[in-house]
Symmetry: C3
Amino acid sequence: MKIQTLAAAAATLAGFAGNAFAQSTVTLFGIVDAGVSQIKNGSESRKLQSVDGLSSSRLGFRGIEDLGGGLSAGFHLEGALVPDTGNPSGYNFQRRSTVSLMHKSVGELRLGRDYVPTFWNLSAFSPFGTNGVGASGLLFYGFGGSSSTAPTIVRSNNSIGYFLPRDLGGVYGQAMVAAAEGAATGKYVGARVGFATGPFDAAVAASEVTNNAAGDKFKSFNAGTSYNFGFLKLMALYSTSKQTTTEQVTWLLGVTAPVGSGEIRAVYMDADRKNSGNDGTLMALGYVHNLSKRTALYGQAGRIKNEGGATFSYGGPTQPAGRPSTAIEAGIRHSF
Amino acid sequence: MKIQTLAAAAATLAGFAGNAFAQSTVTLFGIVDAGVSQIKNGSESRKLQSVDGLSSSRLGFRGIEDLGGGLSAGFHLEGALVPDTGNPSGYNFQRRSTVSLMHKSVGELRLGRDYVPTFWNLSAFSPFGTNGVGASGLLFYGFGGSSSTAPTIVRSNNSIGYFLPRDLGGVYGQAMVAAAEGAATGKYVGARVGFATGPFDAAVAASEVTNNAAGDKFKSFNAGTSYNFGFLKLMALYSTSKQTTTEQVTWLLGVTAPVGSGEIRAVYMDADRKNSGNDGTLMALGYVHNLSKRTALYGQAGRIKNEGGATFSYGGPTQPAGRPSTAIEAGIRHSF
Amino acid sequence: MKIQTLAAAAATLAGFAGNAFAQSTVTLFGIVDAGVSQIKNGSESRKLQSVDGLSSSRLGFRGIEDLGGGLSAGFHLEGALVPDTGNPSGYNFQRRSTVSLMHKSVGELRLGRDYVPTFWNLSAFSPFGTNGVGASGLLFYGFGGSSSTAPTIVRSNNSIGYFLPRDLGGVYGQAMVAAAEGAATGKYVGARVGFATGPFDAAVAASEVTNNAAGDKFKSFNAGTSYNFGFLKLMALYSTSKQTTTEQVTWLLGVTAPVGSGEIRAVYMDADRKNSGNDGTLMALGYVHNLSKRTALYGQAGRIKNEGGATFSYGGPTQPAGRPSTAIEAGIRHSF
């Protein structure tokens, strides 16, 4: 729902002549994505109402105000929806909560809780993005399936971000610093730079963040690329995560292919926990049937293979170490 | 606030010609209902700011997208408002959080957190609905006033619902299954079917749900009917709830009568806890004065009589077993 | 975003002819205000992402329905935004959650969670309002920096408020009572009355509220005035807070001055905790640069001086008693 308003113009202050014809937009937007799934971890199986199989369910409010002279200001408030339970712990704006000052040729300054630069390659160069049975995060976020990762894998509190302006001949990029505010973890610094032209896209990103009381840093690096042949889009993604002596190298190869008004997606991922046998691989295949630009049906299946003490998992029943996790899922994704 | 948008049309994907003229609506809606009440339980009395005396306070977002060929998709997100305290534990979407696929002649498939089929008769065939001093839930929800009821008396997480299409000559109906997702409680199956024609309406519903670690099921059945004579509408509702050896039979007789732009409401309810003397009755009388379709003033009074160890109550001070609970209430209900 | 709707007209009930041409407005509104600050308490310094330096971040929904004959009904739902963290404990409506019945010449009856009458002078006669390094609340809310204040310094649950109608020749006023609902604290009664004409404004307010298990009352009184010379606006505010033997007298003198499209603000505050050396003073200076009516940049600095055991503080690191607290802050405020 996009609503054109002339609020700024109607309420123009004396002395802001430049603003008199400014046009502003406030948008209420969202996605509800729910389905059914069956997950089998080792020998235990469970039927679930799954959510977010295709896109992360959300409700948000955003807007931009044209300040004239190439300058604009904007806000973005976005919170997760949990359609299977109705957000019992409260709707919030932890997906994104920012205010921005933007200039056409200087770039954007953004303050608040936001995605970290190192997140974006994990989404952009993954056929399933970070959703469903082929989500890159299933292997890329953790260390061998454990939770010993940083609080800033996806987003960071207290961040100051800078984004390059558009129209730099295909070059895009962003940098971020975030304050720990006296806490032992969460002092983040990271950046991403990429180049996109025609069917080609590639980007690299790196970050480090304080991540324990001893002040040790969690360091991550990732690089991704895609090439769109029209009938087929190929993707590759590589990532390293490291904290003191723990290190993981993860990569994927993927493909998406349009079929009528739908799309086939396939991915293979491999996570190698260094100096440990706690490795994992993931294979997933899915089909998305678009009923419209806003509404889609989907079906997908995936299998994670764990080695050693690895516990990469689709969730559901407790994941036994070294045993496979499989999932099949079907659902509806509706956006507004 | 209903906002007509042509978002779908404007954003039509190549290949979705059928969607080119689709019209979509996103609606922001809500109710704020607050007042004052005095509750006396046994010999203790308390003055309160009451809420939801006429309608449950809420804020929601819903929308429908026409997909062509009789097919449409929709979402519904609705959360409770608590105007006396401002929702201190966080606004959420636990009233309803669903995504739907609907076909004019096939019916509706609905996924997410939703009302259970067995709830609707308790609302539809009760003069006060489930609000205020004559709310059906005061006697119908529990066992003798205790809280030993299922988590799915009103709504269920993880549900898949099916609704019959409209235009079946007055027949309406729905069915629901919900997953326990590995928990001991909450595996629900239920259905409701009804028939409405002219001034007559009647429906029956039944459900069972796993409700303790031993796997015992809470089983409920209810049936209701109403007849609208124009100057008077009569209602009757009957319900049984059962888990292992605990059983309760509850019924009500009620009437609503239009008076100018207002309405008088009266109800008598009786709850009989089987093989126990923990029974209760409720009598309530109220008047609603409509200032407009959206805004109403109301005043109402009710008395609950408890027998044996029953603790049916209007809330407020601790309810002593076997003692009466009385309430008087006046308030404003404003919807948008 | 203000949206004119004719919903009431379109949905007019038979019998509500008076409503047929009623026009209603529902407004979605908000502010996102974030920046950076450095706070030094005693010898410890901390860098922070600050929020609400100029205005309190918020998201809200409000509306008014014209009922004809000078009567109208309305609602106001408003919750805090926390842009640095995205509201991790859940977005709610604790800033304000009310329903109102209003008559042009009789005044307004308002029910729900709302600001108390005694709050408004602390905001209206303070150059920084209750935000940023010169916020009146930094010295006016507490007792010597301690938290031994009432739950109703700013707002109250369970309130019934009455507001005088406009157009009383410059006189304005309001009164409020709130129920404790069986709790030991929170039974509030208070009122405010003021007079504004041309460049002059002045108001007084007083309240008392039950504030401990013994039933002792927290009593507050405040008075403020301002005079706008055009090139300069002078403000003065005086307040007393008392509970049993603890008493604090606090006052401020302040000034705001327009400079081009911006404004300079300066304030001096003094808090005197009676029969104790736990006193404090605050000095702050700031500049607001308006990019438009909706968007502003700001920079400000302040210093709190604590005496005796006083711990008045800008937050950040633990405040040592009797030591100064200083803050510098810069940020962006965007409203919609």
